[in-house]
């Protein structure tokens, strides 16, 4: 054998050996140093869900080894909050075990409890207090939260309520008044266009995934729907809008009313509106409406309103407005009805309701709870994933009530202000760590979507649904009314109440200007999508996504018009003191030409008093908002403040 053939044969043999004997190259893997040896970690994309709002968006979690390290969206794509799920699982503020208060209320001394001991304590407290229990639940779309409400009903609790302080619901109270049905949703996907009155709908309308999906669908249409916003501040929706019509603070409903009167004057209503009850009286009533006077009060030109009305009459846009005073909601609801946008595709659609077949009572208003505590009617308050000590107008009222309630039990994922006042804190693991069941209405049927855990929950972290059912089983003989004690039976007890809206009934709306608290500047409150429902302030990537137009990051900031700032001697980024009749906070001034000279604007959701990232990051603007006892809804917009340079 020649040297050449020997080398060739050797090379060929080695190649064959490599191909046949050696293992195939591994696929993409992550590596981790373990005891000086590198080993491949198993990797998988596992289906899960986001538990940040009732939409419960489906998504994939990337798990490498024992840890969730990434999020992959699936259609419809979730909002920004879903991408913080890996961080939520390892967050330093997370509650991982049940905790019992050790020492004075409001202190930070706790004793860890085992899951069984916590269950025992909770059950005995509920048994002791039954009939004098209040249950306050944040709507998260899960069966677990409904189970706790159902248990409240079975205990004959006088107050069972959804937390609904800062939801972006639209003028649903006005629709309820005019149609008898309380649940309405805007059909944005099919809307011909949108006219928003003082409503930053791109950030505040719930759930965000529906708004985002609708706007994506708009792009596929031949003629893209247009957006006009009416309001005092150039908010994110107004920046994105085709036109922004600035008006005086709190006068958006007056513009809506002037538009309605113009539509009537021009006979520009939709034919379907003329068939509705009360139409003739409305036409007569609005015929006497002082359009120039209203426009002057609102600070808009009659010509600008007339132009919009002409445009509207042809195109029948969907009109949006926030859930403020009933008097403020009525003009927006009326405009929708005149344009034939109530109960029709592309307008406001009545939503069916999930309710209990047994007739267990419907949730009441959350705001009745502090008064009930003060009146001595409540011995035990169970708060499920809500934070009334932080996320309500004038939260000092709630803190005072929570100090006085005999027993306070809080379910939460992270340590927050309400949990700090609790006697017993129970952890709620994110959906990634438990078998979560999301309930919704789909095609008139109850739909239950189960999500399997992608990693185990901490050892002593009870599943909130199982816990509710076990407590119900334990208390069964003593419940005022029976409650299903397994998940399937609980689902079976749910039914879909079809939307029972009667035809919209017109009435001539009386509008009076809102009364404001004392102060020089109107306080406008922004509801950033990043801090939806005033939650998420503990997540660093979300704190960095507040107010992108001014980089309102990591600190409570206040938008001040440059002219006003000059007059007050306030420079950009200077610390200022905001004070109202009920509170004072410090905030960093940001000069912004998009806010009117007689107002300042602060984003909601920052200013927590505790937390590894959230704690002491600015002040909570909710502390400035005066609670109006006579209000039907929390009045976030009727506060005035003074601004002082520091």
């Amino acid at each position: 054998m020649s040297r050449r053939s020997f080398l060739l044969a050797g090379a060929g043999g080695l190649a064959a050996l490599s191909a046949g004997v050696l293992p195939k190259a591994p696929g993409p893997v992550a590596w981790q140093e373990a005891g000086g040896v590198h080993r491949a970690l198993p990797e998988a994309l596992l289906p899960s869900a986001c538990g940040e709002c009732p939409a419960g968006c489906e998504l994939l979690l990337r798990k490498v080894g024992d840890w969730v390290v990434g999020v992959r969206p699936i259609e419809p794509k979730p909002c920004l909050r879903a991408y913080t799920l890996p961080q939520q699982l390892v967050h330093p503020d997370r509650i991982r075990v049940p905790m019992a208060r050790d020492g004075g209320r409001g202190g930070d001394r706790w004793t860890a409890l085992g899951a069984e001991e916590a269950e025992e304590r909770l059950a005995s407290w509920l048994e002791e207090a039954r009939g004098r229990v209040a249950v306050l639940v944040s709507e998260d779309g899960e069966l677990a939260s409904r189970a706790w409400m159902r248990l409240g009903a079975a205990l004959a609790a006088p107050h069972v309520a959804w937390e609904d302080w800062v939801h972006g619901d639209g003028p649903v109270d006005a629709f309820q008044e005019a149609t008898g049905w309380a649940r309405w949703t805007p059909d944005l996907a099919e809307a011909a266009g949108v006219l928003a009155f003082g409503f930053d709908f791109l950030q505040a309308l719930m759930p965000p995934v529906r708004t985002q999906e609708a706007l994506k669908q708009w792009q596929e249409r031949k003629i893209r729907p247009e957006v006009v916003t009416v309001g005092p501040r150039l908010d994110l929706s107004s920046m994105r809008a085709d036109e922004w019509l600035p008006c005086r603070v709190g006068r958006e409903p007056l513009v809506a009313l002037a538009m309605a009167a113009m539509l009537v004057k021009n006979k520009g209503w939709h034919p379907s509106a003329a068939r509705l009850p009360g139409f003739d009286a409305l036409v007569a009533g609005l015929g006497r409406f002082d359009i120039p006077g209203a426009c002057e009060q609102a600070g808009v030109q009659v010509g600008a309103v007339a132009r919009l009305v002409e445009y509207l009459a042809d195109r029948r846009w969907l009109c949006l407005g926030p859930r403020r005073r009933l008097a403020d909601q009525r003009p927006v609801a009326l405009l929708n009805a005149l344009l034939g946008r109530v109960g029709e595709q592309g307008g406001w659609l009545p939503e069916p309701e999930l309710r209990w077949k047994s007739g267990a009572h419907r949730p009441g208003p959350a705001e009745a709870v502090p008064a009930a505590i003060a009146g001595g009617q409540i011995d035990l308050l169970l708060v499920y994933r809500a934070n009334p000590a932080f996320a309500t107008p004038e939260p000092a009222r709630w803190r005072k009530a929570l100090q006085h309630v005999r027993r306070l039990v809080v379910f939460t994922d992270v340590y927050q202000e309400t949990a700090r006042l609790a006697d017993l804190v129970l952890p709620v693991a994110p959906p990634a760590e438990r078998r979560a069941r999301f309930v919704s209405v789909d095609g008139g049927q109850v739909r239950v979507r189960e999500v399997a855990p992608v990693m185990p929950a901490p050892a002593e972290c009870p599943d909130p649904l199982d816990l509710a059912l076990r407590v119900a089983r334990r208390l069964a003989p003593k419940l005022a009314s029976p409650m299903p004690t397994d998940a399937e039976a609980l689902v079976a007890e749910l039914e879909v109440a079809p939307a029972a809206a009667r035809p919209f009934t017109f009435s001539v709306p009386e509008w009076t200007a809102p009364s404001y608290s004392a102060g020089r500047f109107h306080l406008l409150l922004e509801t950033p999508l990043a801090l939806l429902r005033m939650t998420g302030g503990h997540l660093p990537y979300l704190i960095s996504a507040v107010g992108p137009h001014l980089r309102q990051w990591w600190e409570t900031t206040v938008e001040i018009n440059p002219e006003t700032a000059r007059e007050l001697g306030v420079a950009d980024r200077q610390l200022v003191k905001l004070s109202s009749e009920v509170g004072t906070i410090h905030a960093r001034a940001k000069l912004y030409a998009g806010v009117p000279p007689d107002a300042v604007c602060v984003p909601l959701g920052l200013g927590h008093t505790l937390g590894a990232f959230a704690g002491k990051v600015g002040g909570n603007p909710a502390e400035l908002v005066k609670w109006a006892a006579e209000a039907e809804r929390p009045l976030w917009t009727q506060t005035k403040v003074n601004v002082e340079a520091l």
Binding site: V209, V228, L542, S544, R551
Partner: protein, 232 residues
């Protein structure tokens, strides 16, 4: 292949899903109030605000901005240690362990989209466990920037190689593109004239920032359409 991106400002709804997805995917430093106050918070993808006028005649535009991955990148010309360079696939790459922290590139970038780690990144408790193992955690004194999620390209290439096939279109997308709920960000091969990204770059609405500097950015934008058809 020459990777590039087109962002349609008509589709962008300022939701910032792209920005948060980018932060999570690329293990960006969590930040602190101090960093934010000093304007030294590292966020590879930020929204550039352009606010004009006085109240009430004021308008504002928000544009998602990240490294523009220039074909003539000024940052690479000034790096004394070749820590940043134009890679063969068109991305402007950054090698962290080569960086000596001189910040020449930070100052040379006309888009101000390079970030210097002024502080030692803090990962309290178990937070570092939730980081992406494909992306290195940076140290204090190192410059960083958008890599177009280059690690995803590497993984996609490896997978294609293992399966003995070329890289398929859409197999590699950066996290921001993947997260955008309105599909405002289109990504692809600029060398392929038939690709969606190439087609959009030829669109009448297409423009690039600071074209006059000759940087030839590979991130282009589509202008938002004009206001109301019937009103303006």
């Amino acid at each position: 292949m020459r990777w590039g991106m087109v962002i349609d400002l008509d589709r962008c709804i300022h939701c910032q899903a792209c920005a948060v997805a980018c932060s999570t995917e690329n293990n960006l430093a969590l930040g602190s109030p101090q960093e934010a106050a000093d304007d030294r918070l590292i966020r590879w993808l930020q929204f550039l605000p352009e606010i004009e006028g006085e109240y009430p005649h004021v308008s504002a535009r928000l544009t998602p901005m990240m490294c523009q991955h220039c074909d003539d990148p000024p940052c690479t010309f000034v790096c004394p240690v070749s820590a940043t360079y134009l890679s063969p696939d068109g991305t402007v790459a950054q090698i962290y362990w080569r960086c000596i922290g001189c910040r020449f590139c930070v100052n040379a970038c006309p888009y101000t989209m390079k970030w210097f780690n002024w502080y030692l990144p803090r990962w309290p408790g178990q937070t570092s466990r939730a980081t992406n193992p494909d992306v290195e955690l940076r140290d204090k004194g190192v410059t960083e920037k958008c890599t177009l999620c280059h690690h995803r390209l590497q993984l996609a290439k490896e997978q294609a190689k293992l399966e003995g096939r070329p890289l398929r279109p859409g197999e590699y997308v950066p996290a921001c593109v993947e997260a955008c709920p309105t599909e405002a960000i289109v990504f692809g091969d600029l060398d392929d004239p038939a690709s969606e990204v190439s087609r959009l770059r030829r669109d009448q609405r297409s423009f690039t920032y600071l074209e006059e500097l000759g940087t030839k950015p590979k991130v282009a934008y589509l202008k938002a359409r004009a206001g109301l058809r019937g009103l303006k």
